[in-house]
């Protein structure tokens, strides 16, 4: 059982560290396997930024993500650049303010105000990536909430802002997942993705 995820944004949004933390949650706190890789633009700062994460219960052979179960986009530029990577029936999660989705059919879509929420609950948009991770995990269960929490604590120590952003993310994720579930098939989408044979 392999999850293939892509998280995209622009430099400074913490996209890459989000990918690392997610993978660490799986490897260090769940004893599973994960591979994380990244690519940047030529810009020193502010260019496109992308991380590919594969999480699996067995060794990951091919390390890249050519077709993602989940694409997360924290910035409009990333959305434009990366939507093609989602596999049919995959999941698209975006920041509803930064990267509004303009109709797409073959993926389940969640638009959630990560930056705004992070600013609100933790005082800084910088924690948008943490908020996003919470929501992602709440929606997909790609790793457990406990593992993600532990991985974040390893990296940042116990900081109120971090916990606040994370909790908000969990909450938002649950809400949206529930809302989509009401639209009948959303939860199934998450399940579906996880059971695809890799």
């Amino acid at each position: 059982m392999s999850w293939k995820l892509v998280i995209g944004g622009v430099g400074g949004q913490g996209v890459i560290s989000a990918g690392i933390v997610l993978a660490e949650a799986a490897v260090i706190h769940e004893g599973r396997y994960a591979v994380q890789s990244q690519s940047y633009g030529a810009e020193m700062r502010g260019g496109l930024s992308r991380t590919d994460v594969t999480i699996s219960n067995s060794e990951v052979i091919y390390p890249k993500v050519d077709q993602a179960h989940v694409l997360v986009c924290l910035h409009r530029k990333a959305l434009n650049a990366y939507t093609g990577v989602i596999r049919p029936g995959g999941l698209l999660i975006t920041d509803s303010d930064e990267a509004p989705i303009r109709g797409r059919v073959d993926s389940r879509q969640f638009a959630i105000p990560f930056a705004a929420t992070a600013r609100e609950v933790s005082g800084s948009e910088r924690n948008a990536n943490i908020c996003m991770l919470g929501a992602l995990v709440a929606i997909t269960r790609v790793v457990s909430r406990e593992a993600l929490t532990a991985a974040l604590l390893d990296r940042f120590g116990t900081r109120d802002a971090v916990t606040a952003a994370l909790d908000a993310g969990f909450r938002l994720g649950n809400e949206h997942a529930a809302a989509v579930a009401v639209r009948a098939d959303a939860h199934e989408a998450g399940r579906h993705a996880t059971s695809a044979r890799m």
């Binding site: 690392i20 993978a23 660490e24 490897v27 260090i28 706190h29 004893g31 396997y33 994960a34 591979v35 994380q36 890789s37 990244q38 690519s39 940047y40 060794e59 990951v60 052979i61 091919y62 390390p63 890249k64 050519d66 991985a151 390893d154 990296r155």
Partner: protein, 390 residues
Amino acid sequence: MSASGSTATGPRTVFVQGNEACAEAALYAGLSFFAGYPITPSSEIAEHLSRELPARGGRFIQMEDEISSMAAIIGASLTGSKVMTATSGPGFSLMQEALGFAIMAEIPCVVVDVMRGGPSTGLPTQGSQGDINQVRWGTHGDHSIIAITASTHQHLFEATVRGFNLAETYRTPVVVLFDEMLGHMRERLVIPEPGELPTVDRLRTSVPEGVDYHPYLTREDGRLPMSDFGGVHRYNVTGLYHDMWGFPSTDPAIVDDLAHHLHDKLELRADELASVRTYGMEDAEVVLVSYGSPARSARQVVHEARLNGQPLGLLELETLWPFPAGVVRRACRSVRAVIVVEMNMGQMLRHVKAAVDAPERVFLSNRVDGRFITPRDIRRVLRIVEGQGE
């Protein structure tokens, strides 16, 4: 580097970049001196060691360039330290002269080349396997060299440790090669307990003080015991042809012996030095030959093909030089086709062709545009080779 199981001695599971895996392996193998100059995509090796070496009593120095980095590790090795430097293509080109010195003077050392797109400045942040032949032939004059690679962090760890072992065993530089993809990618690595992987210590002479010691006299088992600079044996080390005391000589017999020794001590041991991994090779009718990170794509193709019952196998090379011709020949004997999977213009292809019995049945699946080679790329070549079109 994030880790679980943080007892100092037990195995530790960590989630790290390939560069860090390589650096940790070096420490495991006994590295105590590193000199380097930053260059993408290898810099994390230096960065990791700048932190870890002093914490473990070793020494790190950032030199003024790659030439001096290579020179400094040779100097340090002579005092008995296990040494390493790390760089990428442009820096590796600059190291060639001093690398040749280490070959000639038979100084154990490890050089890591994290390959990016070349030639020249090329594609600094993208992977490639363009330096394969350079490793073999980059320095002037006849010589031989050991080069090893791997495709996963766990294997890279083992390969790096083996690299140090081979450097000590054969008194020679060993090049550890991998590409940007593996260097920067993070994955799970279990750092073994001390003792779990064998490590070879410097073989020091047992000749006592006052007795004539010959730094360049080969023992019956092919090894040349060393004596540390600062110790009781004072000898000479030079890049010139030299006699068994290390003093320059132009005597044709001595020159001939040394030239052959430097070449044969590795080339004649190609089989012994060969390290390969096989996947589905038992009854393979078509064989992929690959190495480094592209071997993962190849393995993925084999994995999927096997699920579909296709008789496809993968021969993954971990020793690149001396080229394991014997192993390749035997593995590819009587197969329908061989496809070399690599990220260059076919640098290993020609060696595989030279090794096998039917060179006309060897094909290439490659990529040189900076993107990582995908299973799909390989499958396409496979179909074409099988006459099924794109």
